[in-house]
Amino acid sequence: MSKPGVPHVSAGFPPLERMEISQIPRSRPGHWTVLVCALVVLLVIGAEALRWGRTAHSAHAAVPSIGSVIAAKKASLNAAAAAPAGATLTELSHTHIPAPHGMPSAHASALAPLAGDAMLAFWWAGSRESGPDVKVFASRWRNGAWSAPWEVASRDSLGKALGFGVRRIGNPVAWTDRAGKVHLYVVATGLGGWAAARIAHIVSSDGGASFEVKRVLPTSPLFNTSALVRTSPVALSDGGWWLPVYFEIGNKYPMLMAFDADGNPTSLARIGHSTSTLQPAIVPFSNHEVRALMRDDSDQERVQHASSRDGGANWEDLPALDLPNKSTSVAAIRLANGQFLMLHNHIAAGGSDRNLLRLSISSDLRSWSTVADIAKGPAGDEFSYPTMQQVGDELHITYTWQRQAIAHHRYKIALGAPGETT
């Protein structure tokens, strides 16, 4: 590199740096420049101070904790908690949620309770997975029956609202906030496969009849791609909730996005250090600890497990559970008596990855016993992507049935002391 003032001999390259400088003469900044700079800096400081003040005030008003997570869960399980001793499941009904006409493929259901004993189910349906005609549909559970499905989101409707294209639609995840608004998180990909996925946040103020697009959640610096949702959110005592998220370009790892009571994101954190786990199902474990049970994409083929003792900010990987998992999604909830229910695909002798959907119960998240096999078929059948929702003293389970429909099972649940499983 040539130095200023030093003559430089070059056969083909003139000293570029000096050419650049000679083209733009350095000038002393004028008063206007100083004034504009000062004004911009003052605006930046003012805006940040104002925002910081508001954030600090609201954070001071209510800091959700793990203990309060459990409290919120207990509140929603009051009816069940009053049941006599024994954890008993009695099947009340099982059916398929009505499918939209001409949509032979269905997958990835989610549930959201409404006021009373009503409930909404969401899933995607279309000609095939990733097809351009795939849309998210909803159906309402009321008075013991499902309504006809209606369309909630498509790539056209999302693209129109967002101002940019959506290539394909994927998993929906639903949450009902304290005000009764239904928040739906929908996987909507950019240019590419599922690795190019983004998460669209859409909200309904009329019980799911219509939805308004709020935004795409910011989750990654890579053109905001490769973030997906699958498992159910978890309640916080301040009215907020945690949304489990996961990343998948090459490596796969789970994340957690926290929301306040108004549905605005408040933080984002990675769950553990693993690069082969995804779709975390989060349950409060104690007053000071929360656990995540996760789908395994490694050769270990076991349900993966992580723990956080600081309100979900930092996570530690725990040894995998002694339950098989060949990269299939799980669902888990904590019951009012302190026990945990998990829906997972068990691998029986001669079976395949997803032909047996099992409900298991545990008191410590380590030792599990079978409650019931919810769905079972010959090798190659698929009963997958389960979701659980407790509404009063009923346990609702939905799952993908043969990739053709969404099955719904309804159980009466009676809880007692741990160890009294029936």
């Binding site: 390259f13 050419m19 900044p29 930046v44 950019g190 610096p221």
Partner: protein, 241 residues
């Protein structure tokens, strides 16, 4: 975590992509003459109109499909490049080597972390309610100081613009990283550094070649024709250019 309103993001995306696209077209322009100012205005106007078209007619719709939003700094650097072209400056100072180096290092750390290889949560820090305002404020002060002192004024102005956009409106996504860096900007920085390295190595090679010619004993003995003789040193001095 404060996120921008979707309507603001849509407007930002259209204006931002118009500036980026206009800059890209100008960079690819290999015409015999410099673009005139009216032509520059026309190009920018066409880009803005195109981006403002509804739905799939707008290139912003497709750019957003792939890239979502350009970072504030990318838009700032592109705006700066357009201003340079307005003033007839062909060789840009929008991406100096120092800035390119910082962007490449930050990008490498951020993207390694995002791919799960570091697990440090760098991206999440861009949402932190205390760290983010402090970083934005310090960044704005540093940029303003650099502009006032006349040091690296162009990139400092682009950065100040990106920080102001972030602090006032939280554009483009609400994350400070997304205001200052995106893979396209990182790619620009990598290309800048690579081009610089190639230029230097090419210059070094040509210096060696000319040194060899000048110092070779044969060259003293052989009488070169006037056209092959090394040019006088003064002819290469940039001071005269």
């Amino acid at each position: 975590m404060t996120l921008p309103d979707l309507a603001l993001q849509i407007v930002y995306a259209r204006v931002g992509w118009a500036l980026v696209f206009a800059t890209l077209l100008l960079a690819l322009w290999r015409g015999p003459v410099n673009l005139t100012r009216p032509a520059l205005v026309a190009l920018l106007a066409v880009m803005l109109v195109l981006m403002a078209l509804p739905g799939e007619l707008s290139p912003a719709y497709w750019l957003g499909l792939a890239f979502q939003y350009p970072s504030g700094l990318l838009v700032g650097c592109c705006a700066l490049r357009l201003v340079e072209r307005w003033h007839g400056i062909r060789r840009s100072r929008a991406m100096p080597h120092t800035l390119a180096g910082v962007l490449v290092v930050c990008g490498a750390l951020l993207y390694l972390d995002t791919f799960g290889l570091l697990a440090r949560g760098f991206y999440y820090a861009g949402f932190w309610p205390v760290l983010t305002p402090i970083m934005a404020t310090l960044g704005a002060l540093a940029c303003a100081l650099a502009i006032v002192r006349g040091e690296a004024r162009s990139p400092a102005a682009a950065m100040l613009g990106a920080i102001a956009l972030f602090s006032l409106l939280r554009l483009p996504t609400g994350n400070l990283w997304d205001a200052m860096l995106d893979p396209l900007l990182c790619g620009w920085a990598v290309v800048t550094l690579l081009a610089s390295v190639l230029r230097k190595s090419g210059r070094r090679a040509s210096d060696h070649a000319s040194d060899r010619i000048l110092n070779a004993p044969e060259s003293q003995a052989v009488s070169l024709t006037p056209g092959l003789q090394p040019a006088p040193i003064e002819q290469f001095s940039s001071v005269k250019e």
